[in-house]
């Protein structure tokens, strides 16, 4: 088992678990002769990335230090630090960041534990298992836009099924989308609905790659179900869990389409994610420079979070495997 969790380490980040679901023997990297160069293979991708990701990123940085509007196009007017000082004192920006962080932490945690539980329940063959596996994976194939609309129908306060069912059970009606306390919960429910399948799928693949003898042996020793999960299953699944949470986390930070159509960021700004805030600043207030500044602040925050997460999980993984 590898102890390194850097994303370049294929034993941790290996997507092959999804596909082959078989334990992978360690193989040495091939050396195909010193006279052959690998650069012709790698350079085209590097060139495209420099052109299509790094150049726009640099352009975005330039925009954040200037004043661009949609009217004057490429005309940059130097504004040096104006956008950044505006950002630091903008309470709407901090509200959006607070909501985004709250959303990421709660959603990813719940998605992981529900996905883990469902994977454990459906891991061994049970009647109807195939049907449930397919059903549980449908949500993540739907377009985020469609999901936003679907939950707006479901949570409709007059004509939606959720309030109708609550009414039928003589429970109080909930203002799912128009109340500042419940609207974030609705957004969370939507995201859990959409992305628990990813956790489920990755953890299920991990479970299926696990040697069953280990669990049988522990069972024979009289270990309880909980002890088996904690002492045997969890350590084996730790590397793939680290990767699954990482993937989900960096995507959750950039949530946009679902919220845009479910609540539009409202009521007020109760569900405005950072991406939504940057989008509104750029394309409704037509302040492209300020939108770029917000998005770069998000990039810095996500990068720092990702590095801290990788450092902490690397330490924890070492301990689990020791």
């Amino acid at each position: 088992m590898a102890t390194d969790v850097s994303p370049t380490d294929s034993s941790v980040t290996s997507p092959e678990l999804v596909v082959s679901a078989a334990p992978r023997p360690a193989r040495p990297r091939a050396r195909l002769g010193p006279n052959r160069s690998g650069w012709p293979f790698v350079l085209p991708a590097i060139f495209l990335l420099l052109l299509l990701n790094i150049f726009p990123l640099i352009f975005s940085v330039v925009m954040s230090f200037s004043n661009v509007s949609t009217d004057n196009g490429l005309q940059l007017t130097a504004r040096t630090l104006d956008n950044w000082s505006q950002l630091l004192s903008d309470s709407s920006f901090w509200d959006a960041m607070k909501f985004t962080v709250f959303f990421v932490v709660v959603a990813v945690t719940l998605e992981f534990f529900i996905g883990f539980a469902m994977a454990l329940l459906l891991w061994r063959k049970i009647p109807g298992g195939g049907f449930f596996r397919v059903l549980f994976c449908i949500p993540m194939m739907l377009a985020p836009v469609a999901i936003g609309f679907m939950f707006r129908m479901i949570f409709d306060e007059q004509d939606g099924p959720v309030n109708a069912i609550l009414h039928g059970l003589h429970l109080p009606q909930v203002l799912w989308l128009s109340d500042t306390t419940t609207a974030p919960i609705s957004v969370l429910l939507m995201d859990i609905w959409e992305w628990t399948p990813l956790m489920f799928l990755l953890l299920l693949a991990g479970l299926q790659a696990m040697p069953e003898e280990a669990i049988e042996a522990a069972r024979l020793d009289g270990a309880s179900g909980f002890r088996v999960i904690w002492n045997i299953i969890f350590p084996i699944l730790a590397p793939i869990s680290v990767m699954a949470v990482f993937l989900r986390m960096i995507d959750a930070f950039t949530i946009f389409g679902q919220i845009y159509l479910l609540t539009g960021g409202g009521p007020g700004t109760a569900t405005t994610s950072t991406t939504l805030f940057a989008f509104y600043q750029g394309f409704q207030n037509f302040n492209m420079s300020y939108g770029s500044t917000i998005s770069l602040a998000l990039l810095i925050f996500v990068t720092v979070t990702a590095l801290v997460y990788l450092a902490i999980t690397r330490m924890l993984l070492r301990r689990v495997e020791a």
Binding site: V19, G38, W39, L142
Partner: protein
């Protein structure tokens, strides 16, 4: 299964209800009209409301045709995915099989540089692309959309293809080199066919991202290159929201994913080598 394990079905059933309700609601709403949507929830076709195929007539050739956006989506998603999987495979192969040096950087550093771009929030580059495209006259074009999605997918495809190539035993390729084959021949004729299941999985993942993407599409397109997600979003207009159209288009847009997933399921679970070395 023993009877005492039947409790498993209780949490599974609860979760199925949660997962199933929005899907069920989408399917029945696609067959509703105005009268069946307002004035209270209606659950059962023929019992609670009279199903109608009006929405399907409207979007399949009526005033609100889905055909154009569907074509745009197919062209953009297919070309962006094919190009990014191609360059991602090349880069993944180079990183998995050769020793690269760039100053202090070795393979792992270069791979990390490529993969770390996956962390970048799309909104960071979309504003820059909007300004750049405005000046290059690439706004609202199929080419412009394909270019953006290609760049955005390459980190993912490189990452996946690299790990597929890494787990491939190197003996077959070495044998081909001894026979005098060139690097490109070995890559195309030996290595690539062996990672076909991985290649398909990578293709699917990249395709599904592009197919469903909304932020780039809403910023860059307006009429000539609109994709299916945009088509769904614009059903919310000044005349009220056409819920039945939204649901029908959503069903059309998820169809290829489900078909491909079912069709390739067996393919994806077959072992990676298929006994090529035995």
């Amino acid at each position: 299964m023993k009877l005492r394990e039947a409790w498993r079905y209780i949490p599974i059933a609860l979760w199925s209800l949660f997962v199933g309700l929005p899907i069920y609601w989408m399917i029945i709403t696609a067959f509703k009209d105005n009268s069946a949507i307002y004035n209270g929830a209606r659950y059962l076709p023929w019992v609670d409301f009279k199903p109608t195929t009006e929405a399907w007539h409207e979007i399949l050739g009526g005033s609100n045709s889905v055909v154009g956006p569907l074509q745009h989506s197919l062209i953009i998603a297919t070309s962006a995915t094919v190009i990014s999987v191609f360059f991602g495979s090349l880069a993944g192969y180079g990183l998995a099989r050769f020793q690269l040096k760039l100053g202090f950087w070795r393979n792992n550093d270069i791979a990390f540089w490529i993969i770390s771009q996956r962390i970048m929030p799309p909104v960071v580059i979309v504003l820059a692309f909007f300004i750049l495209y405005k000046n290059l006259h690439l706004l609202d074009t199929l080419l412009g959309m394909t270019i953006i999605y290609t760049g955005f997918s390459i980190p993912l495809t490189t990452w996946f293809m690299q790990s597929y190539f890494k787990q491939l035993p190197v003996e077959l390729e070495e044998a081909a080199y001894i026979d005098g084959a060139s690097r490109l021949t070995v890559f195309l004729r030996v290595a690539l066919p062996l990672v076909l299941p991985g290649l398909i999985a990578t293709f699917l993942l990249a395709f599904s991202f592009v197919w469903n993407e909304f932020l780039f599409a809403v910023v860059i397109t307006s009429s000539k290159a609109t994709t299916l997600p945009i088509m769904i979003a614009i059903q919310q207009g000044s005349q009220g929201t056409a819920w039945w159209n939204i649901c029908a288009i959503s069903m059309i847009s998820i169809a290829p994913m489900v078909i491909v997933a079912i069709f390739l399921q067996r393919r994806l679970v077959t072992g990676l080598l298929g006994g090529a070395l035995k």
